[in-house]
Symmetry: C2
């Protein structure tokens, strides 16, 4: 008798779909995981006998198995909430009215600076647990509610700590260029100077930055400021991304594409030339339908044109207290179908294969392939249509993270 | 020493709001429960000493406490799902296209008839658990996916069983008049005849009906048919309610008001004279924003006019596989603010005090008053604005059902 190798597991009686294999499900499948990676996958009938020996076997009871979902755009480390602003918006208040009453990003900067590490971690863990309950195993977290060097460093360190605590993969994005901090009011160029001269090198040297983002918009940083920052990031070897064309078009996504950005996010006002640039650069378009919904936007991102141009389409929650106060990636998918016209066969890639690429993770995550990290979501569904169908219902049975089932899945399958 | 009376509990360090007391929170409050009912409530400093002695004390840590939420309009006992229809709708298919391909209510009737009791109960329990996780302690469940006497009787019995199993309060509504069953195709009048002559008396005598509903709409049952059915129900002493004016106005809510209906539900096409009739009859208007959202409706219920006329406004999930596939009452509240213009101070009553009235429950439920059932929801919130703010986030810490904390709340407060 070979002893059971606790590090090796065979997941059987499942329907595999996702990653390189596209959206065609493989029924009666099996998948072998060892040391946190996929060792083999294919039709169960073709499972090599040698692989089967001595491994722990888990029947998934006919459920669907996809790559673990990846939420590739969040601001989930924040203090406080902005419900009063939301109620004002429902009564017709404009962005300007809200800002004039002390609302907007800077109100969350105040609340975040005032919160203790423990308070921020507690709230963020609730959000990460809710994401994981819907199949998410990888999450991007942006800084940008600190806006001083120590406060930004704290947020990036807390993001690292959340990764270590939760077991989930966390991609930490430096978004110092989220808004001009009160200390630099009226001096946006000086702020960008300091980011380039001091903050970026310090935070990068500390290993706290996985990518650099900038809010390039008429009400935030202009194209020249954004370009200076992204060039400095690139010079430090850091990947870049951009909040682009949510409210207007000032040339953000063409700039991002020229810098080889991993992703451009929002894109409501993106035009034909921008789309060509994104396609040429291989930049992922990250759609954020929850923010669109909450802001009552009417301008939709040009999904048909992006699709036709071959730009990879990702969907994310945008979790943040102002414009997307929640953490349901399934709700984002529902809205991506309803409001942006995504097709069912595009949904899965948008939160796995393409979302991984938006974070530079495509070599190891968001995929079902030998050698990929063994991060899965397991689903009580009958078709991929269900990913955009339910609204306020979670058909996820649990996740596997680096080959280990979470507590809920373990209970469900008696693992 | 007095022994601890396990049936008597004092909940302290909480902010009470809801029911008769409206939307003004009472801070530093205490509430005493015994034998499943509220025995006392008020400022903690005024708690009578005698009541405090020998009772179990639970600090709620400054959290908000409201009446348990009531979801007063659901069709949550159903088999299958209709995700393919939803994907068709996203690609532009009309109601008629979908029906022509075998979709719509009758496809769920087929799936529900084909499902075993165990399958239906398993799916319904998932939905009830999700509702309770958001603070819901009372739920209306309609039949209407059986559409034969034995199949309707089965659904109503399963609704009773769900009440017994879950510990939640279930109001079972007979909705035989949901659609004309295939066995009566083209013979709607004959179907209503049989409902009146045989089905209603049989099911009422078995004690399975708490109220009778009818889908009064040009594509379902007309005013004459609906009136006959509701009169028969009333003659049997059964309360009535109505699906009214979702797609058109054929006089449904005036008819319902003339029968003293507990509620009229949907009301997108309701007009001034209808609103006067509802106000005079004391009928509750149940708004169903999730269905409105899923169907991409543009005609909004006349909320301002209903409010001005003093019609009580309730909000419910409408949980059903065709037009509201989910079970998040908080999402319904979010949409009620965004799409229907409800105010934050109206949200709480819409899912407690007014929802209770829609089910004839106002004497004992949906209220914080001495003698009321001790059903509470406990919240990690700072204001009532938060009830309509979060979208895909659940700030509920747990529920108390007839004086007992659920497992999640017990863990949260170490009870």
């Amino acid at each position: 008798m070979t002893a059971v190798d606790s590090a090796r597991r065979i997941w059987t009686d499942c329907i595999l779909v996702g990653g390189e294999q596209g959206s065609v499900p493989l029924r009666d499948a099996a998948i072998v995981t060892a040391e946190g990676r996929i060792q083999w996958l294919g039709p169960a009938a073709q499972l090599p006998t040698a692989l089967g020996q001595g491994a722990a076997r888990h029947s998934l009871g006919g459920r669907w198995l996809t790559p673990g979902f990846i939420d590739c755009h969040t601001h989930l480390l924040f203090g406080g909430q902005r419900a009063a602003e939301h109620a004002m918006r429902a009564r017709g208040a404009s962005y300007e009215d809200i800002a004039a009453r002390g609302g907007g990003i800077l109100s969350t900067v105040r609340a975040t600076r005032a919160a203790s590490d423990a308070q921020l971690l507690r709230a963020a863990r609730v959000r990460l647990r809710a994401l994981q309950a819907e199949g998410v195993t990888g999450v991007e977290i942006k800084s940008g509610y600190g806006l001083s060097l120590p406060a930004e460093e704290r947020l990036l360190r807390l993001a690292r700590q959340l990764g270590a605590d939760s077991g989930l993969d966390i991609h930490a994005t430096f978004l110092g260029a989220h808004a001009v901090p009160p200390e630099y009011a009226g001096r946006a160029d000086a702020y960008i100077d300091d980011l380039i001269r001091e903050w970026l090198p310090h935070l990068a040297a500390a290993g706290l930055i996985d990518s650099v983002d900038v809010y390039c918009e008429s009400l935030a940083f202009d194209v020249a400021q954004s370009l200076r920052l992204l060039r400095a990031a690139t010079a430090l070897g850091l990947p870049v991304r951009m909040h682009a064309e949510q409210r207007s078009n000032i040339g953000a996504s063409q700039l991002a594409a020229s810098c080889g950005a991993l992703s451009c996010d929002h894109l409501e006002y993106t035009q034909a030339a921008d789309i060509e640039a994104l396609a040429r650069a291989g930049t992922v378009a990250v759609l954020l339908p929850v923010a669109w919904h909450v802001l009552r936007d009417t301008q939709r991102p040009p999904v048909d044109a992006l699709r036709t141009a071959g730009v990879p389409l990702a969907v994310a929650t945008d979790c943040n207290p102002g414009t997307a106060p929640g953490e349901s990636l399934l709700l984002a998918l529902h809205l991506a179908v309803r409001d942006f016209g995504l097709r069912s066969d595009e949904l899965l890639a948008s939160v796995t294969w393409h979302a991984a690429r938006a974070l530079g993770w495509q070599a190891r995550r968001g995929n079902l392939a030998v050698g990929a990290q063994a991060d899965f979501a397991v689903w009580n569904i009958d078709s991929l249509d269900e990913l955009g169908y339910w609204v306020g219902h979670n058909p996820c049975a649990g996740t596997v993270v680096r080959g280990q089932p979470d507590a809920r899945l373990a209970q469900e399958i008696n693992a």
